[in-house]
């Protein structure tokens, strides 16, 4: 380790009208270390990396690379300095192949002609070296989200980075893929690459982190070596208070069967049977692409049902259109809040009010804005969305607050069964605790809850009963003490131990 940090910031500040997103932060990154940025949503992590990545410019303070003062005005500037970033938002072109995406703008070839074979070959070599199992010739749109994420990461590695910034890279990866990624990160560290890693999941990054820097409310709280700290300390630094246990105790009082699915087949689902009861949280675990999400999207009428039956309170609702399923009392919270959850250019109020109009407050063709506003206010209280965020355009909110708005929308309908698909993707610890409390309250009030999640601790800690899906089938049902991480993992893969 040489003395000059590869990146150093001095009093780095980014202010917006009315809010200081990053307030005089001093941060340093050493060669060959994995440095985790930790903090709640809105703590300034994303702002800090957007400044380092050249995607945004500071309003005050300075950035030093190798001890020299730099000013990045574009992402390309930062890349020229050896700083590569994998943002949470994907930047892939869906209609192009994996190889084309990886070599976008730097295609190998002669003059204007692209050497496609060479391109595929080196793309393959890079993916292999990273341990990512992604077909290079495949069009990106046909890949799973996890595979897209891998391509995104590979794209950054391709530039031979001195500094690699990863913004929640594991949000949609399975544990096995995460292992690959971590192995790769450690290999890069050996080569002297410095890595900034943003994550909310302590039990994940404690395996690779050298140092951790905690931010809160745009301010620098402290930096500590991972070896010298523990989860409780970090969480306390992040939240400014101790969060003893983020998972609530949910009373288990199973009542009537509400949903009964028999032998359902659909695209990616090959015969699955599920029941959901009042007063119970049912967890759906499985690898990305195992069909746990598609099963419920088929029930909701978002994708076609090919066979099997769906009964709701004894009534056959197989193949009913989405709005009728919602009207009957089932709500589905999408795993992709930006693409199919929220209207990003509208305020939180407007996003919630449309659901109230279609659901609980649907009376006649006219709307009563004042009545709507008051009901919406109560719901925002319930999901703990702060007053000042309510009239703000949703696109401007942090991931955690956007997720609160999405949760609020599900309370806009008369619902007996809540299906939460990846309810805490890209959500900070504090917000996650709040959302878990909400889920607990719903179940305790005698409604049925289904939690679909790739986050194992989440499924295991929230659910009374866990179904594991493998390749479109239910491979196990775990209750009571059988709900352990080892058990679930065992059923993730087929008998021969191979994944799909």
């Amino acid at each position: 380790m040489t003395d000059t940090p590869i990146i150093q910031t001095r009093a780095l500040t980014r202010a917006y009208p009315g809010v200081i997103a990053l307030n005089r932060v001093d941060f340093d990154l050493r060669r060959g270390e994995v440095h985790v940025l930790f903090g709640e949503n809105g703590a300034g992590k994303s702002t800090l990396i957007s400044l380092l990545a050249g995607a945004n410019t500071p309003t005050d303070g300075e950035i030093l690379v190798d001890g020299r003062n730099v000013q990045f005005s574009t992402v390309a500037d930062a890349q020229a300095a050896g700083i590569f970033t994998v943002f949470q938002e994907f930047s892939l072109i869906p209609t192009m192949t994996v190889a084309q995406n990886m070599f976008l703008g730097r295609e190998p070839g002669y003059g204007p002609f692209t050497d496609h074979r060479a391109m595929r070959k080196s793309a393959q070599a890079l993916l292999d070296s990273l341990g990512f199992d992604v077909p290079v010739g495949e069009t990106v749109v046909h890949l799973s989200r996890a595979q897209q994420q891998m391509v995104e990461i590979a794209k950054a590695f391709h530039g031979d980075p001195k500094v690699l910034i990863l913004d929640e890279p594991t949000a949609s990866l399975t544990d096995r893929e995460v292992d690959h990624l971590f192995a790769t990160i450690l290999r890069l560290r050996e080569r002297g690459v410095a890595i900034i890693y943003i994550s909310h999941r302590i039990n994940e990054f404690e395996r690779i982190a050298d140092r951790v820097t905690v931010l809160r409310d745009g301010a620098y709280i402290g930096t500590t070596a991972m070896a010298d700290t523990d989860e409780a300390t970090l969480v306390e630094m992040m939240a400014g208070r101790a969060i003893r246990d983020i998972y609530p105790d949910i009373p288990h009082a199973p009542g009537d069967v509400l949903l009964e699915v028999k032998n359902l087949t659909a695209w990616g689902v090959r015969g699955a049977s599920v029941t959901a009861r009042r007063g119970e949280v049912l967890g759906m675990a499985g690898l990305v692409g195992a069909g746990k999400s598609r099963l419920f999207r088929a029930i909701m009428g978002i994708q076609k049902i090919h066979g099997g039956t769906v009964h709701w309170k004894g009534r056959d609702i197989t193949g009913a259109p989405t709005r009728h399923v919602i009207g009957a009392g089932i709500h589905y919270l999408s795993s992709d809040r930006k693409d199919e959850g929220l209207d990003l250019a509208k305020s939180s109020w407007q996003n919630l009010e449309i659901d109230l109009m279609m659901g609980r407050e649907a009376r006649g063709p006219m709307i009563r804005p004042r009545a709507l506003r008051s009901v919406a206010g109560d719901i925002f209280e319930k999901v703990e969305l702060r007053d000042s965020y309510r009239s703000q355009v949703v696109a401007q909110l942090s991931g955690g607050n956007q997720q609160k708005v999405l949760f609020a929308k599900s309370f806009g309908h008369d619902t007996d069964l809540y299906i939460f698909d990846e309810p805490t993707v890209g959500v900070d610890m504090g917000t996650r605790a709040a959302l878990y409390r909400l889920i607990g309250d719903i179940a305790a009030s005698g409604k049925a809850v289904i939690v679909i999640s790739s986050d194992l601790p989440e499924v295991l800690n929230l659910s009374h009963r866990v179904l594991v899906m493998t390749e479109g089938r239910i491979s196990a049902e775990l209750t009571g003490d059988a709900r352990t991480e080892d058990n679930v993992l065992r059923y993730f893969f087929d008998d021969n131990g191979e994944s799909a």
Binding site: P17, S334, D343, A345, K346, M357, P365, P369, Q396, K409
Partner: protein, 336 residues
């Protein structure tokens, strides 16, 4: 229910006005100053009243166009609907007049209904194409526009339909009620109805929601296909109403009415802050947008700008408005 700009508290006034209303107030101010300098007849009460009366037709069509734009599409076939409604209603009125010699209003009513019927068909086809088959609104309405224009010419052999009942033109073309021209009353009624629709009904909110994020709207229990269908059909019906009013004005059924109105109505909407991405836009400003386009045309006429050059300027104005729309959208999303 409307724009998304209760935020950004301490921005300066101009920026807030831009985010809330779009580029219109600025354009309107510039136009008033420039044309007032170019011609001293421009800024007179008489001229402005005149502009107001002439802009009725464009305002009507723009209201329909706004619905479709907010739903996330656009309608290039509004001009064709005007032509088709004109030709169909005129032909039916002329045919019905001898059948009901003592009841001229019955003949007029049947003719008008036929005109609206043809618009219903056009709007329905647009809606089915876009909502059910997922055809891009651009191609769908462009194709339908060609079909409709061809039909209108085919039905009449390219010859204007004359011999309409006098009462039709007298009332709907030149009539006055309480001293106000009938077309103005019709437009005022439509503006009011449209405002109620967009600001106070669930259907209006659904149109905003579908244009804002159709997948999210679907998951909020909105019947997205039905909503899109209704937007296209209402747009066509309003265009047909405009066609009837214009027919009454010229007292013939003509297949070349409404030639450039598709472009003009889109320009009026975009200038008035209706986003081409869908989901954003307000009735009040669209009315002003339609008025603005006619005002500019009037100003250019007074300043003796040739009609060819006017085409150039109108197109340039639309492009400029779209660029500003893009900037505004970015400001809304980033809060900057």
């Amino acid at each position: 229910m409307t724009t998304a700009t209760d935020s950004a508290p301490r921005n300066n006034l101009l920026k807030r006005m831009f985010i809330r209303l779009g580029v219109l107030p600025f354009f309107l101010g510039i136009a008033l100053i420039v044309f007032a300098l170019l011609s001293d007849k421009f800024l007179t009460v008489q001229n402005l009243v005149n502009v107001g009366r002439q802009s009725v037709y464009l305002i009507l069509v723009s209201l329909g166009q706004m619905l479709v734009l907010i739903s996330g599409g656009f309608d290039l076939s509004v001009g064709t609907v005007i032509a088709l409604a004109s030709v169909v209603s005129a032909s039916v009125m002329v045919a019905m007049a001898p059948v009901f010699p003592d009841a001229v209003w019955l003949a007029i009513a049947i003719g008008a209904l036929a005109g609206f019927g043809s618009a219903l068909v056009v709007g329905g086809i647009n809606g089915i194409g876009v909502a059910v088959f997922g055809v891009s609104p651009f191609i769908m309405t462009l194709g339908v526009s060609s079909v409709g224009a061809g039909l209108a010419l085919f039905l009449t052999g390219g010859v204007p339909v004359s011999g309409l009942p006098y009462a039709f033109g007298n009332v709907f073309g030149f009539g006055r009620l309480w001293g106000v021209p009938v077309p103005v009353i019709a437009a005022a009624f439509c503006v009011l109805a449209m405002w109620v629709l967009m600001a106070r009904t669930r259907l209006g909110a659904q149109i905003y929601a579908v244009g804002g994020n159709i997948k999210a709207a679907h998951l909020s229990a909105i019947n997205t296909r039905r909503t899109l269908m209704i937007a296209y059909i209402l747009c066509s019906l309003i265009a047909a109403l405009t066609g009837l009013l214009l027919t009454a004005r010229v007292e013939t059924g003509e297949a070349n009415l409404g030639g450039t109105i598709a472009l003009e109505s889109i320009a009026a909407c975009v200038i008035a802050g209706v986003s081409l991405r869908g989901g954003l836009g307000r009735v009040e400003t669209v009315v002003l947008g339609g008025f603005f386009i006619i005002l500019v045309q009037n100003g250019m006429n007074l300043a003796q700008v040739s009609s060819y050059m006017q085409m150039v300027l109108l197109g340039a104005l639309l492009i400029l408005a779209v660029i500003f729309d893009q900037l505004r959208y970015r400001m809304i999303m980033s809060g900057r």
